[in-house]
Every structure is written in structure tokens, then in C-alpha cells.
């Protein structure tokens, strides 16, 4: 008998098959993507293209940040625009009162904006994280609207609905977008690193266990409140940085665009499409969807058709890839791998069994397994392979 155990249904007990592609593929892919993103503005220097690229980077940072909390903890926040807005106002107000000149110096304010958001997230998180599920979702929205109303009403600080103006840097128009793009790229890489750390660390394991079953996680000794609050603050930091990058790029801050109710839905859509709670999901989602969205917007030239097309696309993606692109692709990859190993195992196992007892063999192997090793695997085995996947 070979090492591979053949169960009566003909399904080989799979040896350990990893849930993600091997390290070489992942690192090569990441490296190629980074190189591509680094040279992108050199390849397409058209300002219309690079401005889309800057917006993409801003949403990329925000999506990775959002995913660190909502993806890993399972608490869906639709109120992270609160930190997007705080980040924008922090940068605009600091630039105004501390007389930071427009240009590279403004980017020095980004970590400050992030820190202000992280600090603000602690008391807010303390309140909103006391509740779960829907109530949590709605509370985050409520907090965001409170801040929006404050921005409207605290006229002496924020100039109310008049908004704040930021002076544009004096870079030449032809490469105006590039500094924003590269700063955004650096921020995205840092955010990715933070996301990777959270995902791999013992701390992150606690966070993921809260997503799967909070009560059981607490039973196992995880300080759920603190774990969630830390993730909430980290994610607020990156969303704040995204906001801090957006304000000088657009050159103005308004309450309704800073604390924008549609911002979070846009970010949530990106992450859901890419694959929520995964490291690569927000990246895939943002890099695919934002350019597509901008393309739709330019293509139709009509905001309403664009809304309809976007809504339909969103429903289609939810229907076809409910788990998101990244998990669906890995699942498919794993399924192929499992099927291939099974076919290989069968072709090795069958002759061995045939020697031992032909009577058992005829009932044990029902599928035509005597074919060549490359033969397509029995289709019935494929859904079974997917059955033992971890959800998401």
C-alpha cells in the first residue's frame, strides 16, 4: 500500500495543501506590481491619467486602512469618512495656522493627520465598539454625521459650508500629479506593511478570532475591547493619511466632501470586491475598480448613467463572486491543485490496489481512474475539495 490512503469513495485524503499560493509566486507578483506602480507615471505621463492614478492611490491607502479594522475584525464601519474628514481638516488647518508652505512640506503633515485621527479614534472607538453588528454600523454613520454637522457649525474653525482653501504647490503643471502619486504610493506600501503585520502577528490572530466568534475569543482570554480599539485606531490612522493627501490635491476642504457619506460605501465596495479580510483584497479592489469607476464617469459623461452602471456592476460582482476576487482566485487555484494531486494519487494507488485484491478495488474505485495521470479528475470530487475551505 502506498502512503496515500484511498477511501471507499475514491477520494484521496488530501495531504496538506496550503491555502495561498507559494511564497515565490506571491513575492514575485508583489515585486512586479510595485515596479509597475513605480514606473506608471513615466509610462503614462498624461495629466488626465496621472490624476486618476493619484485618486486610485488615495483610495488604495484608505481601503487598506479600512480593511485593517473592518476586514480583520468583522465589524463593518460605514463611518470611517469621519477620519477621512478629520485628516483633511487637520492638514488644511495646520497648513493655514502653522504657515506650512504648499509643496513638499505639506506632505510632512500627513503623519500628523494620521496621528490626530488615531487619537480621535480612541474615545470614539470606545463608545461605538460597545455595540455589535447593525447597531455598530449605524453608530459609525451617526458619529460621521455628528462630525459633519460640527464642521458645518463650528464656523470660527472650519469656515462652515464655505470650506477651507489650500494653496496649490507651485510645481509645473505637466508633472503636478507625480509628487502626490509617489507620496500616495509610499503611504500605500506602509499601510500594506501594517496590514501584513496585523495579519501575521499574534495580535492579529486575536483580531481574526474576534471576527469568527467574539464570545469564544473572549472566553479564550483575548481582551476583545482593547484588541478592537487598537485595530480601530490603526485603521483610522491610514484613513486620516488618505484624507490628508486628498485635501492638498484638491486644494479645498468642505464638510460634505470631507465627511462624505458615500466615501465609506465606495471603500467598502472596493474591499468587498477584492476580498474582505484578506491582505491583497483591498489592493486588487482599488486598483481595478477606481480606474474603472473613473472611466465609466468619463465615458458616460452623465453622472446618472454612471450611477446605474456602477450599481449594476456591484450587484453582479456580489452575485458572481460573493467572497471577492482574491479569495475566489485562491480557491480556484487550490481546487485545481487538489484535483491534480488527487488524479495523480489515484493513478498511483490503483495499480497497487489491483495487485492486492481485485474484488475490493472494483468497488473502491468507481470512477474511471485508469486513465493517464493528466486525465481530467472526476467532477464530483471538485465541489468536495471546496467544502473544507475556511470561509473567506
Amino acid at each position: 500500500m502506498t502512503a496515500i490512503d484511498v477511501t471507499p469513495t475514491g477520494a484521496a485524503a488530501p495531504e496538506h495543501i496550503p491555502y495561498e499560493p507559494p511564497r515565490q509566486i506571491r513575492w514575485t507578483g508583489t515585486g512586479l506590481l510595485l515596479v509597475f506602480l513605480a514606473v506608471f507615471p513615466l509610462l503614462f505621463p498624461n495629466p488626465a491619467v496621472t490624476s486618476i492614478a493619484v485618486i486610485t492611490m488615495i483610495f488604495l491607502v484608505a481601503a487598506i486602512g479600512w480593511n485593517i479594522f473592518s476586514g480583520y475584525s468583522g465589524y463593518i464601519s460605514i463611518g470611517h469618512a469621519a477620519y477621512y474628514g478629520i485628516g483633511q481638516y487637520t492638514v488644511a488647518l495646520l497648513a493655514m495656522h502653522a504657515k506650512v508652505p504648499a509643496g513638499w512640506d505639506t506632505f510632512g503633515l500627513l503623519p500628523v493627520a494620521g496621528l490626530v485621527c488615531a487619537v480621535a479614534a480612541v474615545p470614539i472607538g470606545y463608545v461605538v465598539l460597545r455595540v455589535r453588528r447593525h447597531t455598530f454600523i449605524i453608530l459609525t454613520v451617526a458619529v460621521m454625521f455628528i462630525l459633519q454637522l460640527l464642521a458645518f457649525n463650528l464656523v470660527s474653525w472650519t469656515n462652515g459650508s464655505g470650506g477651507l482653501e489650500m494653496s496649490f504647490p507651485t510645481w509645473q503643471g505637466s508633472y503636478f500629479n507625480e509628487p502626490f502619486y509617489y507620496v500616495g504610493l509610499v503611504a500605500a506600501v506602509v499601510a500594506c506593511a501594517a496590514s501584513w503585520w496585523v495579519r501575521r502577528s499574534k495580535y492579529g490572530l486575536g483580531l481574526l478570532s474576534i471576527r469568527d466568534d467574539e464570545d469564544r475569543a473572549r472566553g479564550l482570554g483575548i481582551n476583545a475591547a482593547r484588541t478592537k480599539l487598537i485595530a480601530y485606531a490603526i485603521s483610522a490612522f491610514f484613513v486620516g493619511v488618505a484624507g490628508g493627501l486628498y485635501a492638498p490635491f484638491i486644494g479645498s476642504v468642505y464638510p460634505q466632501f470631507g465627511f462624505d457619506p458615500t466615501f465609506d460605501l465606495a471603500v467598502a465596495v472596493l474591499v468587498f470586491v477584492g476580498g474582505i479580510g484578506t491582505l491583497s483584497g483591498p489592493v486588487i479592489g482599488a486598483l481595478l475598480l477606481i480606474p474603472l469607476q473613473q472611466y465609466f464617469y468619463l465615458q458616460f459623461g452623465n453622472a446618472n448613467l454612471y450611477l446605474i452602471a456602477y450599481g449594476v456592476l456591484f450587484i453582479l460582482i456580489l452575485r458572481l463572486l460573493p467572497a471577492g476576487i482574491a479569495p475566489s482566485v485562491t480557491q480556484l487555484w487550490r481546487r485545481v491543485l487538489v484535483a491534480r494531486r488527487r488524479a495523480a494519487a489515484r493513478s498511483r494507488a490503483v495499480p497497487a490496489l489491483a495487485v492486492q485484491s481485485s474484488a475490493v478495488q472494483s468497488s473502491a474505485v468507481q470512477s474511471p481512474a485508469a486513465g493517464p495521470p493528466e486525465a481530467p479528475p472526476a467532477t464530483a470530487a471538485v465541489p468536495q475539495a471546496g467544502g473544507d475551505e475556511v470561509a473567506r
Binding site: 453608530l139 446618472n304 450599481g311 460573493p322
Partner: protein, 290 residues
């Protein structure tokens, strides 16, 4: 006196907010989904009444005879085409799907009616009568009476009919309801229909008392969700009390302090209450999921 007037205004306006929020909370109670499209459904109801009034000069209150059944059918169609096919993680997925439905509806409404603000302007829209020194605008009084009648109808449906019993059973325990032979799918579909029809009625009043466009739905849905949380998810009586309280608080703060702080105060009170009572005023205590 101003405060008394504000309280009365709050109660009158709270009546039709109760209709819209009641639809939201019923849907949540039965199938645990947050109908994020309720805001745009209200606006759709308002636009339908507006179109019937401007093109066929049908009185808005009368137009409900047409719009409410129409919206009821839309609700059922949305359930079967959008909610029913969701296989996993219904709570979150349905929220996103309903958001997408809302986006599509917003696009269509903007295409058909353009994004100019409109208002249903019947001849009696500015009439009012006074009792002592208190002013009662006709339209708010009519709207309040209509809301009371419709809500009484919903209560009758819920507590005095066979369908209502099935609905409450599905609310309490969907699995057990299915076991005793209730078709929870159709109960859910009808509930979404009823919820959306209530939005149509509320929307008609909204269109009479506010100028609106498709983007008004964002403001509406955030208010409605706040009301529903305040009252407790899935509790109809909670939604009624919460809508009246919200509007009264808002109006009183507007009179005593400044109109700009009205809504902020409400949100602040909402958060303070949730710190003490996370399940809302009349909500059931959340049981452990699973």
C-alpha cells in the same frame, strides 16, 4: 409658547417619520436586513405622487391608492430578485445589495426627473388654522391623521390577522416558523412590500412638505436609521416613540438654541442612550449570534 409650538410641530411631523421608519424596522425585524434603500424608496414615493399630481392632477392623498400598491409590488420584486438569491452572510450582503439598489434607483430617478429640486404644491399646501396662539398647518394635520390611520392598519394587520401572526412568528424564530409550516419567504416578501409601501405614504408627505431631489435620500436614510436604532431594531412601537421624540428634540433645540444644532443634539442623545441601552428603547436584548 414657542416651546409648546415646537413640541406640537415635532409630534405632527414625527407621525409621518414613524411611517417611514416603521417600514424600515418591520423589514429588519422579519428578515434581519437593513433596507438601506428605504431613503430612495421614500423619494420614489414622493416622485410618483408628484408625477400623478402634475400630469394627471390627482390629489397627493388620493394618489396613495395607486402608489402604495405599486410600491408594494416593487418591494416584492426587490425581495425575489435581490434578497432571496443571497446565499451567505445575509446581514451584511443585503445591506450592500440594497445600497446598490438605491444607487441604481437614484440614477434612474435623476435621469427621469432631473436633479432640480421639486415640491408637490397643492392649493392647500400653505393653509393653516390656529387654536389660541398655536398654529396648525393643515397639511401636517392631514398627514398626521393619515399616518395614524395607516399605522393603525399596520397594527391591525400584525396583531389581528393570520398573516400578522405568521409575520410575528417569523420575527421571533424563523426556523421554528418554517417548521410549523409558515412560508417565511413569502412572509419576508410581503413584509418588504409593506415596508416599501409605508415609505411611499411617508414620501408623499415628504414631497408635500419639503422640496426634494434624488439626493435627499442620503439625509433621509441617516435620520431613519437613527430613529430605528433609537427605538430598537425590529420594534414598531419603538420606532413610533423614537420618531416623535427625535422631531420634538430637534424642534425644541432649534427654538431654544439654534436651528443648526437640532440634528446634532439628536445624534448626541442617541449615542448617550446607546451607551446605557445598546439595544435601543424597546429593542430586545441582542442574543448571541449563531
Amino acid at each position: 409658547m414657542l416651546v409648546l409650538q415646537a413640541i406640537i410641530d415635532g409630534i405632527l411631523v414625527g407621525g409621518f417619520y414613524a411611517l417611514m421608519a416603521g417600514g424600515l424596522t418591520l423589514v429588519f425585524g422579519v428578515m434581519e436586513i437593513v433596507n438601506f434603500a428605504q431613503g430612495i424608496m421614500v423619494v420614489l414615493g414622493a416622485y410618483l405622487s408628484y408625477a400623478l399630481f402634475t400630469h394627471l392632477s390627482i390629489d397627493p392623498f388620493l394618489s396613495l391608492v395607486i402608489t402604495m400598491p405599486g410600491m408594494f409590488l416593487i418591494g416584492i420584486a426587490v425581495y425575489w430578485s435581490m434578497i432571496r438569491p443571497i446565499k451567505q452572510d445575509r446581514v451584511i450582503m443585503s445591506l450592500l445589495v440594497m445600497f446598490a439598489v438605491g444607487t441604481i434607483a437614484e440614477g434612474i430617478l435623476d435621469l427621469v426627473f432631473t436633479s432640480n429640486l421639486v415640491q408637490i404644491s397643492t392649493p392647500y399646501v400653505n393653509n393653516s388654522f390656529t387654536v389660541g396662539s398655536l398654529i396648525f398647518p393643515d397639511i401636517y394635520v392631514y398627514a398626521f391623521l393619515m399616518s395614524v390611520v395607516l399605522l393603525a392598519g399596520v397594527y391591525y394587520l400584525l396583531y389581528r390577522t393570520r398573516f400578522g401572526r405568521s409575520l410575528r412568528a417569523s420575527m421571533q424564530n424563523p426556523t421554528a416558523a418554517r417548521l410549523v409550516g409558515i412560508n417565511t419567504d413569502w412572509v419576508s416578501a410581503y413584509t418588504l412590500g409593506i415596508g416599501v409601501a409605508m415609505a411611499a405614504a411617508g414620501g408623499m408627505v415628504f414631497g408635500l412638505t419639503n422640496s426634494f431631489d434624488a439626493a435627499s435620500s442620503y439625509d433621509l436614510i441617516s435620520r431613519l436609521l437613527a430613529i430605528v436604532i433609537f427605538g430598537g431594531f425590529g420594534s414598531l412601537s419603538g420606532a413610533l416613540i423614537a420618531s416623535v421624540l427625535m422631531l420634538v428634540i430637534q424642534d425644541v433645540v432649534a427654538v431654544v438654541w439654534s436651528p443648526t444644532w437640532g440634528q446634532t443634539t439628536f445624534y448626541v442623545i442617541l449615542i448617550l442612550i446607546l451607551l446605557v441601552r445598546p439595544q435601543g428603547l424597546l429593542g430586545r436584548k441582542a442574543v448571541r449570534a449563531q
